[in-house]
């Protein structure tokens, strides 16, 4: 594409095309968007985060990531659409404008670049990282079981051949460690939204224990209003709840770690669909999925802005 205006958001793209899109977006909006490299993957690919900022220094921030499980293609595609939407709506949409006038937004579109490249080159249904585990012929660690929060407890596997293998130690995966270091160095992130697919769920901590999160009531209320906004567009039905109650026990998960870092508004989305296509959601559903999800994300961002802590 010659510019983001001619970029086709209604089809899936390769890693190179998405990285090219990011560079175009930065070039088109240098006052608003910048690209940070927060690390390099196991196979040496750069890990990029887009920063949307209207100034200030180390402002309170909102983090959004997509694609941590590489086969969940509708999430990276939605991330691309979110990036363009932010540049289109700043100055137009009063809610987003007030958010960006006081806060920064960090968006990591391809959170597992090695896995994503592998889904295009060898195995479309690859989920994990591509790190080699000494002593095993199986490859990769589940990056959503590798965080230092209930790490290694029930809700993950210690078998390197399992899709939910937690890795040899917490933050063993550089794709995870890069985010950990970024979050710790930044120190002022107030909301953390990690986007997966599928099964249409909005989840909050905890996944590794049944004890409710101290902010459970507020998170549940916020999830409800976010989903009200989401379903207002196409009527898409989501369920919500804590990870362990809404689906199953999962240890070493992203948002359990971010919540335990003090980031109160920690959520995971599981986007479309509920089970006609699963991970193979037709590209025709990318834009509607991104549009409805954006309404929920914006609700969470507004709440974060209006409830400083």
């Amino acid at each position: 594409a010659a510019s983001t205006k001619t970029f086709n958001f209604a089809t899936y793209h390769t890693l190179e095309e998405i990285y090219g899109f990011m560079d175009m977006l930065v070039a088109e909006h240098p006052q608003l968007v910048s690209k940070l490299q927060i690390g390099s993957t196991y196979e040496g690919r750069p890990i990029y985060v887009l920063k949307f900022s209207t100034g200030g220094n180390n402002r309170p921030a909102i983090w959004i990531d997509t694609g941590i499980h590489s086969r969940e293609w509708v999430t990276q595609a939605s991330g691309v659409w979110f990036a363009k939407k932010i540049t289109q709506d700043y100055g137009q949409d009063p809610a987003l404008t007030s958010i960006l006038d006081s806060m920064d937004i960090f968006l990591e579109i391809v959170t597992n670049p090695d896995g994503f490249a592998f889904t295009h080159s060898k195995d479309r249904l690859w989920r994990k990282t591509r790190s080699i585990t000494a002593g095993s012929s199986c490859v990769g660690v589940d990056p959503n079981r590798n965080w230092d929060s209930g790490f290694g407890l029930p809700g993950a596997s210690n078998n390197p051949c399992s899709e939910t293998y937690h890795g040899k130690f917490a933050h063993s995966e550089v794709e995870v460690k890069s985010i950990v270091d970024f979050v710790k160095n930044h120190g002022n992130i107030k909301a953390f939204i990690s986007i997966h697919s599928y099964s249409q769920l909005l989840l909050y901590p905890y996944g590794y224990k049944t004890e409710p999160a101290p902010d459970h009531a507020e998170l549940d209320e916020l999830a409800k209003s976010a989903l009200k906004a989401l379903s207002s567009l196409y009527g898409t039905y989501y369920e919500h709840g804590s990870i362990i109650n809404a689906i199953y026990r999962a240890s070493g998960g992203t948002i359990d770690w971010t919540y335990e870092q003090g980031i109160k508004y920690s959520f995971t989305f599981e986007l479309r669909d509920t089970g006609l296509y699963g991970f193979l959601l037709p590209a025709s559903q990318i834009i509607p999925t991104a549009q409805e999800t954006w309404l929920a994300i914006r609700t969470i961002m507004e709440h974060t802005l209006n409830h400083p802590y």
Binding site: D123, L125, I247, Y277, F279, L280, A283
Partner: protein, 94 residues
């Protein structure tokens, strides 16, 4: 590139904990190479699993033998992937 011709995705509906345990037994049989798209959670919550072509018969017999209901969510994974690739190439060509 991995070929998924004939692979199916089954949607399993478990009625009770005993049936979940049975499905977990399947999950632990590595030679079946099952890929759980939605893992076993609780009675009433669907379990989606991709089954390689060569294992489909055995898995269906196992489920039926234990009275575990299932439907076929995706009849042939590769055909959906082919469509996806065609759509991507068509765009790139344009």
């Amino acid at each position: 590139k991995e070929d998924f011709a004939g692979h199916q995705v089954l949607r399993i509906s478990v009625a009770n904990e005993a049936q979940i345990q049975k499905v977990m037994e399947l999950e632990n049989l590595e030679h079946l190479q099952l890929d759980f798209w939605r893992g076993p959670a609780r009675p009433g919550s669907p379990i989606d699993v991709r089954v390689p072509f060569t294992r489909i018969q055995a898995v269906k017999v196992f489920l039926e033998a234990h009275g575990i209901k299932y439907t076929t969510m995706i009849k042939d994974v590769q055909s959906l992937l082919d469509e996806e690739q065609e759509q991507m190439f068509a765009f790139q060509a344009r």
